[in-house]
Amino acid sequence: MRIDTVLVKVASRCNINCTYCYVYNMGDDGWQDMPALISRETITALADAIKEFAGQQSQPFATVLHGGEPLMMGARRLEFLLTALRNSLPARYPISIQTNGMLLTPEIADLFSRFKVSVSVSLDGPKPVNDRFRLGKKGESTHDSVVAGINVLRSHPDSEFLYAGLLSVIDPACDPRAVYDYFKELGAPSIDFLYRDGNHSNMPYGKESFESSEYGDWLGRLLDVYLADQNPPRVRFLDDIIKLSLGGHGIKEGLGDAEYGIAIVETDGTISKNDTLKSSFNGADKFSEAWSLKVSKLADVFGSAEFKMYHDLQRPTSATCKACPYLRVCGGGMPLHRWRNGAEYDNPSVYCNDQKALISKVASRLQNEGLKIDPRLAIQSA
């Protein structure tokens, strides 16, 4: 098993309150037990642990700074963290941050440039789309402050490196063209769209039933816009499905057959599972043993039977998925989307029909261009 991402929760609190957030608003309360910010002591332990692990795994891994809102740690502690990380990891080990961008300043952008940290900003679309769910703690708009942060990145001399892209949670009620055009206006070099968190026992917003395909239809309309654009940014979700359909490989978790390996480090140094599992049930991201990188060696944790069981969760287990002709592209989706109270993760993704609708449409578009789809996919094009 290879670890490709060590995701570090440098802040367990957030400066805003998105109504759909899996960390705070989907039933998990683990954040309340964590220090608000990662301490200097934990940072030092983290840097030592990942330096040791980098010497034990031949393949590089990425370190992703995450939260809560990671910029809540402030410039001074951030500089301490980045100094420690870069002293432990050569430049070929990417360091990146996922932020809402509202606390981005020129000083922080300078820090990121100095330590080679690329930045992805969360924004759901134009103001009316974004401010439907991504709200401040008093229900106020966040849009303008986020865009101000994006403009800090865009105006920085190192913007080409710093500004990695935008991350957007899909609202199937909005117009995908309006979102796409807006993100292009904001100069996004790369865009990623996420399904809303949810499962069979807690149907995602905007999805009427397991059989419906609102999200797949939305992504299909986005596909039309994307393929008609003569100067498109990268759209990760669509790129992966197209490449997989052509016989290539994707890189995203929850699509295709590539392996991925992620470990989460909490603000106190505890190691936990993929944090998106929090949306399944309270504590779903916790291992039975509270491993801490201050005590345990990362290689020992990653080599344990329980970590392997968690890692293997990425592969779908349901008979429906195993027999599905779409599986090589679909991948069975994210484990959190497979959850059902009782049957647990042994189900197709709640987005199964959305995936099928989109993959069929992609196959159809490829065939219309004279391209042949991967013969391992016995799917019907739309």
Binding site: P94, Y226, H249
Partner: protein, 61 residues
């Protein structure tokens, strides 16, 4: 540095599965995104650490 073997490469992406992509003239494709992606699949190689340059969106959150 990378652990995948050539046997694994053949298993994951044998040439036959590229479906004649090497014969496609990308200039004839109507979509700029498709032209780029066809090129990327042609040069797709599990031995290359392609996922480690910009990794923000490899994991969904």
């Amino acid at each position: 540095m990378f652990e995948a073997s050539f046997e694994a490469l053949a298993e994951v992406a044998p040439q036959s599965e590229f479906n004649g992509l090497f014969d496609v003239d990308v200039k004839t494709l109507s979509s700029a995104a498709l032209a780029r992606l066809v090129e990327e699949v042609r040069h797709d190689d599990p031995l290359v650490g392609r996922a480690y340059d910009r990794t923000h969106n490899r994991h969904n959150r």
